[in-house]
Symmetry: C2
Subunit: 360 residues, 2 copies
């Protein structure tokens, strides 16, 4: 019997995936040349669906990478000469800062304790940053960065690019593009697609910065420089033979999301999150990791489990429900539950009922 | 009606793909965590199938990249300090050399005229190369590099690593691993899979070289350094969330190939190639691009078409058969036909009969 998978990514696939895979086979999407008009049509359709779903400004460009991890390298290579500033409140925001450091950038980290948000603090900034990085939704801890902070950062450092990891929150949490220059996500979280594709959205300011660094000979000339990706993308093309299947599936699921209505997806997420948090609060052995209500993720709920999370995970697994363990060093102490668009209200209600009944 | 696609990659998908996609859905391959035992099992199975199918020596390591294009960058970054030597007989072997040059390497090209092979020539070598690159099968022109040349190169430069692009020839053309240190392919050619995955196979000598360069601080610290990929791979893991679906499908198709027998695949390719070349030779308006018999690819047949290839391509397309145009500047003058394991003898016979009947 198939399991209900609530691990925060890769997670349960979107329920329309099987139909779209059938269409992809029928339309020979996996066999067409990536230089063909058919491919260009797929690329164009997907970008248009994303633009409408996420309300991406027309002047912003959308390019495809192979993962969000790749975007960390490409941001460091294309958007920063020497200094970046990173708000770190978990394993993934830290890994991003470390990727910049590996590539020789002075990447300052502002770090917050587990379960809280690393807020922008102009007094803590050591050097004028060229790029300020935020993580909308830290998948490791389930904290959400308050979006008002972006504007605050921009006010203090108007020349800096503002970047945001929206990997596990898109499209559930709205993205304030007017305050952002570099936004990226991967498709195996809320979109419920197979992994292997990243989406990177850049503002005209980000492109101008990449241009200035390129002219100065400061951009690492990998096979995926931002300016070349943007150029190719304008012709609905990619540099290398891309993951055409995933680009196709992303367009189809983005269209499904639009038909359902992104507002409906967002309302459902709030309901599902509310009953998850209440369940954590009501259970004698559970407590939500994130105490501050406004900082609680819309899409990933994390709880501390007294005595360790393994028995709860095993109990749920026996009933066919798979939830995530804590991330990294918190593996044994926490559970992490994804509340993605594919996780229906009924599924989360079932999960909540089972957790409520659980006693080790 | 579905078309019969003979474009040399992406090309027609392998005929078992649909079944494997169904199994992947049933087994929730696209939903599992890439840190789970289930993922490790898939990774292990696929590598084992490849080892047996291609006769990869046990001491060689197999890692997954996002494309063969990525491998060009990773080879330049991890295996070469200053000098490489490239045998260029078409667009793809040239692009590889250019990728090395972009990344600051002194990449010497030995270039051959269109339709011939750039053979190793010790007298032409300007500087002691650290890596000597060959292309087994140039997808742009349909020439095959004679494998004896690898040993010749090794004899003259015993300290150099020998690298080979086997993108569009594997598994049809056998790979002499004993003469090779770095071998790579992507899965959208002979394996008939969706694009978005590269396979990179490295010898202990290649790993030792990467180690020496790493210790010397000379390896570009991307998110995909060879040594870290190898380390993760030993635990059947990847650095980033990978294209799990494609890794799964590759294992399944490699298993199918083994069941059929790689010898059968090779014999069929020779038969299909023979009738394709004969058809080019017999037709008043066609001629094979590659004149030297021993240099003709096992998997990609290219013909010059007097008066231009567009009418022939259109005629075949009307009958539901899609062949490739020439590559790059030869787009209008040539046709390119893939002879991959998924292209059955009957399909190639049909194609040959139609071409034989064609008069513009």
């Amino acid at each position: 019997m198939p399991q209900l998978i609530f691990v925060p990514g890769p997670s349960a696939t979107y329920f329309t995936l099987e139909d779209h895979l059938k269409s992809a086979l029928k339309e020979q999407v996996m066999a067409i040349s990536h230089r063909s008009p058919a491919f260009k049509g797929i690329y164009k359709f997907t970008v248009e669906q994303l633009r409408q779903l996420l309300d991406i400004p027309q002047a912003y460009e959308v390019v495809f990478t192979t993962s969000a991890t790749e975007v960390w390298d490409r941001m460091a290579e294309n958007l920063v000469d020497t200094h970046s500033l990173h708000h770190v409140h978990g394993a993934f925001s830290k890994k991003c800062a470390q990727a910049f450091q590996r590539l020789g950038k002075e990447a300052q980290m502002i770090t917050a304790p587990e379960g809280t948000v690393a807020l922008f603090d102009p007094k803590a900034v050591e050097a004028q940053p060229e790029l300020i990085h935020f993580t909308a939704n830290e998948t490791a801890t389930g904290v959400k960065h308050p979006m008002a902070d972006l504007r605050e950062a921009k006010k203090h450092f108007p020349d800096a690019l503002i970047a945001m990891d929206v990997v596990s929150s898109t499209p559930t949490t709205p993205i304030p593009f007017e305050d952002l220059d570099s936004v990226y996500f991967s498709v195996q979280k809320c979109f419920g697609l197979p992994a292997g594709l990243g989406v990177w959205i850049v503002s005209p300011r980000a492109i101008a910065k990449a241009h200035a660094l390129t002219v100065a000979g400061k951009v690492y000339p990998s096979y995926h420089p931002l300016l070349e990706m943007v150029d190719k993308g304008k012709g609905y093309q990619t540099i290398e033979t891309p993951n055409t299947l995933n680009i196709y599936l992303l367009g189809k699921v983005a269209e499904d999301f639009r038909r359902k209505g992104v507002d409906v997806i967002r309302r459902e997420a709030i309901y599902k999150n509310t009953i998850l948090i209440k369940c954590f609060e009501d259970h004698p052995l559970l407590s939500p990791l994130v105490q501050e209500k406004d900082w609680r993720s819309d899409t990933v709920a994390v709880a501390n489990v007294e005595g360790g999370s393994a028995p709860l995970i095993a109990y749920l697994k026996e009933k066919g429900l798979v939830v995530g363990a804590g991330y990294g060093k918190h593996k044994a102490a926490q559970i992490r539950i994804a509340n993605f668009p594919t996780h229906s209200k009924e599924q989360i209600e079932l999960l909540v009922d089972l957790i409520a009944d659980w006693r080790p």
